[in-house]
Amino acid sequence: MLTVVVIALLVVMVMALSRALLGPTIYDRILAVNVFGTKTVLLIAVVGFLFGRPDFLDIALVYALINFISVIGVLRYFEYSNDRHQGDNP
């Protein structure tokens, strides 16, 4: 069962990755990265479980955290540079 979960997660990660590549707007990419991040968190948790290594959960937690911070950072930067170059939308 867990293997199926891993495969499903990988499939969804590929979907998110293709959304990130396709774009079209920058917000699509950010959204895709965010989704990708949470899926990675789940993936690591499940893989850790599969290997019987609860240490992995620490990594998953760090991921969840880092993912949030970097998405916020990206958005912050983006708003900032939007203010700077008015009308310079993607």
């Binding site: 990988l10 990660m13 590929v14 990755l17 990130a20 590549l21 774009g23 920058i26 990419r29 950010i30 990265v33 990708f36 991040g37 990675t40 993936l43 690591i44 893989v47 850790g48 290997f51 290594r53 240490d55 992995f56 620490d58 990594i59 937690l61 760090v62 991921y63 955290l65 880092i66 993912n67 949030f68 911070i69 970097s70 916020i72 950072g73 990206v74 912050r76 930067y77 983006f78 900032y80 540079s81 700077r84 170059h85 310079d88 993607p90």
Partner: protein, 321 residues
């Protein structure tokens, strides 16, 4: 998984929009970390998670804010560099041909020092996480070198970018930002203490699970950077002062180095922790704890400093423009 990695890497090189490239670099970090997880390299994955997926995109963005978003169109045909890259790549591939087949038992990494590390480290050092014992004890010189590199990098960036002029705290724009983002403000107020505590947890559990000074430092820095992004650089710099950070960064290296000197003084080799205390096992334990602390302090302060440097450079160039 490796295929995904390759696709992402190609896409990064292909994209003209640097911003999108940074986003993909974040994905690349996440991917390579999952790859490390799947080959059971927990500590590497941990570092990749914190650095490759977190701090790296943030710093790249800060740099982007400085240089502008779109890649300059290359006017000259970069033939020479292409040639150079190809040669280097070919040399690397040639080099790998000499290496033993992946996973073969007589490969040097499997019968040189690794065996000794794996078999002896529980006895000699007495801590469960082997990676930590390798990094912080057997190879403590290397790690000291790495810490110095981080420190030097931070100082270099500071020398290049830091103007010493802090953004004026609580300026009009900053206050508007805080007010605007009330969802972010409330949620991150709840989260920041938890992030900081988690960083310290990672710091002190480096001996038992994945983690240690590098990762902890990065997580701690990420917590502070989150604060800086939401409450304005002025506010952040008022609380976590750059001058203090510079001292701290130096202190971290100093702690590491002085552990070595203390070892020398008590009659052992440089960084030979077993001399620290009468009982060599406990001595090693203490030594590792202390140098990990040094690493954590240096990494955290260096990261925050670099971030400040970029941010203040951006703000200043803004004021000039």
């Amino acid at each position: 998984m490796l295929l995904l990695l390759a696709i992402t890497a190609l896409a990064i090189a292909w994209l003209r929009d640097l911003f999108a490239a940074v986003m993909l670099a974040g994905i690349y970090g996440l991917l390579s970390a999952s790859f490390f997880v799947s080959v059971d390299a927990v500590d590497v994955a941990f570092t990749e998670a914190a650095v490759g997926a977190g701090i790296f995109p943030l710093l790249m963005l800060a740099a982007l804010a400085l240089v502008g978003r779109n890649e300059q169109t290359a006017y000259r045909r970069p033939l020479i560099s292409l040639l150079l890259v190809s040669i280097t790549g070919a040399a690397l591939v040639l080099g790998t041909l000499d290496m033993p087949a992946f996973g073969s038992a007589d490969a040097p990494p499997h019968n040189h020092v690794a065996v000794r590390y794996i078999e002896e480290s529980p006895k000699e050092i007495g801590i469960p996480n082997m990676v930590t014992s390798v990094l912080a004890d057997y190879r403590s010189f290397d790690t000291l070198g790495e810490v110095v590199v981080v420190f030097t990098a931070a100082m270099g960036v500071l020398g290049l970018l830091f103007t010493g002029r802090a953004a004026s705290p609580g300026s009009a724009t900053e206050r508007a930002n805080m007010y605007d983002h009330r969802v972010l403000r409330v949620v991150s107020k709840m989260l920041i203490p938890l992030i900081l505590l988690f960083a310290l947890y990672v710091q002190f559990h480096g001996e038992y699970g994945p983690g240690g000074g590098f990762q902890a430092g990065v997580i701690f820095a990420a917590g502070i950077i989150l604060y800086a992004m939401l409450f304005g650089f002025g506010n952040a710099q008022r609380v976590v002062r750059p001058a203090l950070l510079q001292i701290l960064a130096a202190c971290g290296v100093l702690i590491y180095g002085s552990v070595g000197v203390v070892c020398l003084l008590s009659g052992g080799n440089f960084l030979d922790y077993s001399q620290l205390l009468p009982d060599p096992l406990v001595g090693r334990h203490v030594g590792i704890l202390v140098i990990e602390l040094g690493v954590g302090i240096t990494v955290a302060s260096a990261m925050i400093l670099i971030f400040y440097a970029f941010a203040s450079a951006t703000v200043n160039s803004e004021e000039v423009a």
